[in-house]
Amino acid sequence: MTENKFKYIGRERRTKEDKRFVIGAGNYVADIARPGCLHLAVVRSPHPCARIAAIRTEKALALPGVHYVLTGAELEEYTKPLQQYLDTPNVRWYSLAVERTRYAGEWVAAVVADSRYIAEDAVELIEVDYEPLPFIIDPEAALLPEAVAVHPKHGSNVIYRRTFSWGPVAEDFSKADHTLAFRTRWHRSATVPLETFGVISEWGPGQDILEVWASIQMPQYVEQIAAALKMPQNNIRVHYDVDVGGSYGVKRGIKHTVMVCYLAKKLGRPVRFIEDRLDNMSGGDMHGPDRSFDMKVAFDKSGRINSLKIRVLDDVGAYPGRSPLQLGKPIGAIVGAYRIGSVEYEAISVTTNKTGQVAVRGFGQSPTNVALETAIDRVAAYLDLDRLEVRRRNFIRPEDFPYLIPSGTTYDSGNYPAVLDKALNLADYERMLVRRDELRASGVAAGIGIATCLEPSGGNSAFEGLLNPSNESTTFLEAVMVKVDRNGTVTVIINTTTSGQGHETLVSLIVGEELEREPDQIRVVHSDSLNGLWTHSPVGSRMAIMMGGAAAGAAKKLKRDLLRIAAHNLGVAEDELAYDSGTISVAKDSTRKLSWEQLVIIAHRQYQKMPAGMEPALQSTFVLEVPSGGNLPTPDGRIQMYPCHSFQAHVALVSIDMGTGKPTILDYSIAHDCGTVINPHIVRGMIYGGAAHGIGAAFYERFAYDEGGQLLSQTFMDYLLPSVHEVPEIRQTEHCTPSPLTSHGQKGVGEGGYLGAPAAMASAVNDALAPHGKTLDTLPMRIRDIWECLNLA
């Protein structure tokens, strides 16, 4: 381990946030009590597709305590459709179904009442006349020209389709010693936070401000509310001091918000909507990618992979929103950790009569990584080579960085062989092999899972312009403000909600490091959307890089101001000064100095001592654009996607009960390289937690629809979440290859665990099935699926 040169960064310190949560003092949206608040409940469509012939609300409105019933027809009249990120003007999405329903569970009407209990009573009194229409559930069938269109005016179910070709794919395939092909399937699942989505809105008529408290993690939230409500953005105040009870990408309740805001303004009363679990699972628009990958691999007899052909079909459900872009992000790491010279990538996004897809941890990268890592294992099996050896032969080598991949992204830094070795050491791989074989000899199936993953981090929006050429926006900034008050204490203002990532800890450590002030004494507050600066929200593993970088930038500016004040008062040039924990002295004569307190007094109270023309007081803002950002794609679809590239290697031993097919993870080791670690506790938590999400996606979690279009997994009794029985005590170790692009060498770490674990689990199960002559390439690998592999011919 390299020596830590920092005073606060990378040290084993408590986080700033934990204390309020262990005493139950978190401030979640459902905890916020507004006087006179009304409660909302929704009517859900039982049909996957039906014309809404009539909605009768009289009985509901007659129930004491009921204030209003809202329908899609009214929303269509007074609001604009919610944003689509592709040019699909005939895909019109509102908070409530307009004219027809497009999936079972879609919200058709909303009741506002004195309590949620009464609102739910009233929901049962609303009568909707539905005329069922044909619907489409299977994504492959949805592609066919004769398929029923989910949005008839759009003309087909194809929302996006493009074949990218980077490098000499045809030539590489024709020259290859071998080729192979296979298909992997990633079924619908999501990260499913324990807190459902919730939002409260209140209209302040005196000020004409619409107040919004929401459990949100979403870029451009305020501007989309403003657009839908046809309201100036500065009439809306989103409060970012709401604690979010988990998100992992999915907390994008724009449709909930627009409906609640509309009602709050119309009724002149605060309105709140806290989804119950059924609202959330069936119609909350929080399902993740639903994909099949058709993979073709060209390789030589030594196992070096020359080229890939990938066809991916993604079922985005009824209302695509931002989700088709999840086919775009994987382009930024389309070759994973490997030197693969050319790639063809056909990306297809298709609508079906299911709830809309939303961003999930990794933004499409995790299913892609399963396909990539399966390719490596298949090549090894085909050539009868060791899986580790094939990885090592194909790895981008440490001396290759910065490394340009065929699709236009340059990886910043890394040492993949070293990280893999650390994972193998941690796992005691040689012994693990013996243990696997002993298990097999004792009559159980057992397999070792090996997987690596690239984690693009620093969250950029480059895929927006790549998939939608009419979108020329490239800016994906993050802003931080630092100020020092008259008593010398430091406050940092950040401009987004937090859903467990520890942003307060992050910026206090970085500002503390830069100003050499104790982080525990630094206050970090969340602004609101009117009094703060700008954010693109904590997506794409970006905040260590972006919020951390902006915090460092603001702190450096403030430190420069302190040096300027000191130079003026000590009568020397700034470069003759030494800064030590806030005290500034003349480097060659340390008796001539000004303390932090003295500098603060000058800045805040003694204008006569300030350098001419300098602003009084001590404050600074810094707005950081994504490092390496600001570029539009080339016509052939090459783009620098994200700036930084973390890496992980996962090694796991899994046993499978032959009689039941039940998998048990006996041992799980992860080595990771996210550059400089800012807070070790937070990094470890992200690794473990991401892997647990991946274990869920690999074995248990699936939003399954039947042929009639009904969602079969609407509760936690059908949609299975891994408990402490299913998740082993994962072990982790770190490696540090600093990023040259960030303030302290940090990279992102929020998604890697989730990118590596499903691939590792698939690899383990397939290693266990190999002696039985079977493969299983469909996730989740349910107990029944595994049993069938082992027991049916």
């Binding site: 979640y28 905890d31 990260t191 807190e195 938590g685």
Partner: protein, 165 residues
């Protein structure tokens, strides 16, 4: 729906109220008592986020009606620290190992783990796993929660041993 006058001792304080027969204990605690540390995650008894201690045993407050708790004692996360706000050994250990991220499952996770520590200060890994399996966490992968429970047990044991010697 009939209304009922109830009296429940919550965190050592007697709370009275008039509730509808269908008011859940979770809603009574959160809305009537404004003890919002108890969270509602699924309302069908799986996730465990609403767990509170009821007459010394952890229960799902989303699956109980408030009237059922009439005359009984309930401890919520707000009752785990001492009167001066000093964190319990378990809360302190959760902070030391960062046994949480978003914090939503944390109060109920503490209730379950505390119930275990009330029974034994030498829990086996299997006992810890059994106790924590009542609660789902989506953030942490449970590793640091495991570490926190072991750490708290160890500190409580050594604390007791010191008192004894």
């Amino acid at each position: 729906m009939s209304n009922h006058d109830i009296k429940i001792k919550v965190n050592g304080v007697v709370r009275t109220g008039t509730v509808s027969a269908r008011t859940t204990l979770a809603d009574f605690l959160r809305e009537d008592c404004r003890l919002t540390g108890t969270h509602i995650g699924c309302e069908h008894g799986i996730c465990g986020a609403c767990s509170v201690e009821y007459d010394g045993q952890p229960v799902r407050s989303c699956l109980m009606y408030a009237v059922q708790a009439d005359g009984h004692e309930v401890t919520t996360v707000e009752g785990l620290s001492d009167k001066d706000g000093k964190l319990s050994a378990l809360q302190d250990a959760f902070c030391d190992t960062h046994a949480l991220q978003c914090g939503f499952c944390t109060p109920a996770m503490l209730i379950s783990a505390q119930s275990l520590l009330n029974e034994t200060l030498k829990p086996t890994d299997e006992q810890i796993r059994e106790a924590l399996s009542a609660n789902i966490c989506r953030c942490t992968g449970y590793v640091q929660i495991f570490q926190a429970v072991r750490l708290a047990a160890e500190r409580l044991r050594s604390g007791k041993e010191k008192v004894a010697s």
